[in-house]
């Protein structure tokens, strides 16, 4: 009951004309960057940080969340019509969606993706509304040692548990932690890794690192592919956008199952939106009554993963808002967005800034409704974005990206950092290193350090406090399992296979 009245207050804030406008701008930008390859929600939010610096916190955060949700919708359009995913969370959608489009059922594929995203987004946002206050209440009892252990879990799951290589994931994380060290130490005022450059004393700007990692690194990686850049052919939208009775019958269960994968995996620090989409696709393939259609355009293979990626976006907001723990690159940059207004996400946020939190949550329902209108009847407009020639698209992305960096801090040091870190990001992509752990490590690393030092200060330097607190000890066990579990499972799976032989 209390939650409902708080949500009611939030709704009153969310429907203020300025906030509705922020939500609309957010979902439009989000859909656009979701549709366009080469630019995603994480970088878009990072570019907007310097511009929104002086604006109203609630409005800006509503816009950021709209971008996050919108990116999940827009990515599916590109996957279905171009067979090139607009976002990594839409890779699976391309498998069946593009086949459907080629077979003249593009309309139905777009419809099941958009309606599934709406259904999943709404259910998952409702779950967020129910669970977030509960979790915030539990988290109030957390001491600094518990937070440190929790951040350790987030570090390991984001970098090591689900990626293609634990060594590369953890190396990316270590690079992120190193970048996070640069600047003045908050507790003692000592300069670290600044090499006497005054510009580095404030630490690295989130915008600078995000632009280098995502825009410049991605542009270089795509440009370096020989001959691979010009094979994209946009399928025209054929077939009605109205789903048939059969389509509905085959879609609704995958939507719900996709939500069931997406929300918890997004909420547990478990590495973003890709994992639940893969799980959903595999499940639908196994459960389908038409397994022969998979690979030739099965509607379940679009409905499930698209529901999963939207539900995971809502799930990601649970640990972000209640614990201050980001579990994806976009969430990490949103955390930086909160911090620029001196808002610290965590249990206290629900007490000290209840208006902002509940206004944000309520606006998510509104954003979802706006998005289905933007993405279904107006899908034809977004498709035109795909006809921008690649050279101009990437040229434009780099110009806007560098302008965003210069707006944050107009110095040549920042531009030089963009170039150097951009080359680093290109090398990382080339050698298959994941990028998200760099961003999470850079933003969460200094916070983890503060919590650890605070815990050790309270215990007079006794590190066993990490093991004597039951919450922290449990979380450390979880961290160890997350680090070595996949190895164990792989070995067991291998043994089981060899038994069968």
């Amino acid at each position: 009951m209390e939650t409902l009245s708080l949500l009611g207050n939030g709704l009153a804030i969310a429907v203020q004309p300025m906030n509705l406008l922020f939500a609309l701008v957010g979902v439009i930008l989000g859909t656009a960057v979701g549709v366009l390859p080469g630019i995603g929600p994480a970088m878009t939010v990072a570019l907007l940080l310097p511009i929104t610096f002086k604006m109203d916190p609630a409005g800006s955060l509503i816009m950021f969340a709209g971008i996050y949700y919108g990116g999940m919708y827009g990515g599916s359009t590109t996957s279905i019509l171009l067979n090139t995913p607009g976002e990594s969370s839409s890779i699976v959608t391309a498998l069946e969606g593009n086949r459907m489009a080629r077979a003249g059922r593009g309309g139905a594929a777009l419809a099941t993706a958009a309606i599934g995203s709406f259904v999943a987004g709404t259910i998952a946002t409702a779950l967020l509304t129910i669970f977030a206050p509960f979790l915030a209440e539990v988290a109030i009892a957390f001491g600094p040692e518990d937070y440190f252990a929790l951040m350790l879990v987030a570090f390991i799951t984001v970098s090591a548990t689900f990626g293609s290589s634990r060594l590369r994931g953890l190396t990316s994380l270590a690079i992120g932690l190193t970048l996070g060290l640069v600047g003045i130490d908050k507790l003692t005022g000592q300069a670290r890794l600044s090499f006497g450059v005054p510009d580095l004393l404030d630490g690295l700007e989130v915008t600078t690192v995000a632009v280098a990692m995502f825009a410049v690194g991605e542009a270089m990686a795509v440009a370096s592919q020989k001959g691979g850049a010009d094979d994209g052919k946009v399928e025209p939208i054929r077939g009605s956008l109205w789903m048939t009775k059969e389509d509905w019958k085959r879609s609704w269960l995958p939507w719900l199952r996709g939500t069931a994968f997406g929300f918890p995996i997004g909420a547990l620090p478990a590495g973003g939106a890709e994992v639940p989409t893969f799980l959903s696709y595999a499940t639908e393939k196994r459960l389908s009554k038409h397994p022969e259609e998979f690979g030739h355009g099965a509607i379940e293979g679009v409905a499930g993963p698209e529901a999963a990626n939207n539900a995971s976006a809502a799930g990601t907001l649970v640990p972000l808002l209640t614990l201050g723990i980001p579990t994806s690159a976009t969430a990490a940059i949103m955390l930086a967005g909160f911090q620029q207004y001196n808002l610290q996400p965590g249990p206290l946020l629900f007490v000290t800034s209840a208006d902002v939190v509940w206004g944000l949550i309520a606006s998510l329902f509104i954003a979802n409704t706006m998005l289905i209108v933007l993405n279904l009847p107006l899908v034809g407009l977004w498709v035109r974005l795909l006809s921008i020639p690649r050279p101009w698209l990437y040229g434009g992305i780099l110009v806007f990206a560098t302008v965003g960096v210069l707006a944050a801090k107009g110095s040549l040091v920042e531009l030089t950092l963009v170039l150097v870190l951009g080359l680093l990001a290109f090398a990382m992509r080339r050698f298959d290193y994941p990028i998200a752990p760099v961003v999470v490590g850079m933003i969460l690393g200094p916070m983890a350090e503060t919590q650890l030092r605070r815990a050790l200060q309270i215990s007079n330097g006794d590190a066993t406090v990490l093991l004597t607190s039951p919450i922290s000890a449990t979380l450390l066990v979880v961290a160890v399992v997350a680090l070595f579990g996949p190895l164990l499972w792989a070995r067991l799976g291998w043994r089981m296979k060899s038994d069968e032989d």
Binding site: Q190, A223, G395, G410, R453
Partner: protein
């Protein structure tokens, strides 16, 4: 250039591992002075850099081993000219932005990126990039009131 796949040493990967170890050494060396001013206190500002440099050393060593064994995924042949065009575009922008100005610097970045993606109409690209940069400049500086670095061209506005 394509390495790995379990067939002997993968030299670029060994180089990455060596690079990580070098960064570990730099982090350690830069933080040594912090230790001096804070004594043996475990809570000092040097604790985290030491931990991070330990991680970098560990992962760097493991990467060297992986490179030696050639266990990294194989890489496709890269189009280095395109990478050079983007790198050059950014470098020229850094050189020009405070002299010739924001608009020409952005125009050249736009055109060189377009070139990296296969465009052959350099003059058209410079024109589009310049127009885009001028609009962005006026929007940011006049409308949003943010400051952007400017040079000779912007003094004409």
């Amino acid at each position: 250039m394509s390495g790995g796949g379990g067939t002997g040493a993968d030299r670029p990967v060994i180089a990455i591992g060596a690079g990580l170890i070098a960064v570990a050494a730099i982090v350690f060396w830069q933080s040594w002075a912090l230790r001096a001013s804070f004594g043996s206190q475990t809570l000092g500002p040097q604790m985290m850099p030491f931990l991070v440099s330990l991680l970098l050393l560990l992962f760097g060593s493991l990467t060297v081993v992986a490179g030696w064994k050639g266990t990294f995924p194989t890489r496709e042949e890269a189009d280095w000219t395109s990478v050079a065009w983007i790198t050059g575009g950014l470098a020229v922008m850094i050189l020009l932005i405070k002299t010739a100005g924001f608009v020409p610097a952005c125009a050249l970045l736009f055109a060189s990126t377009a070139r990296a993606f296969g465009s052959r109409r350099a003059l058209v690209d410079v024109g589009i990039g310049g127009l885009m940069a001028a609009v962005v400049y006026l929007f940011f500086v006049r409308l949003l009131g943010l400051s952007l670095p400017s040079g000779f061209t912007e003094s004409l506005f």
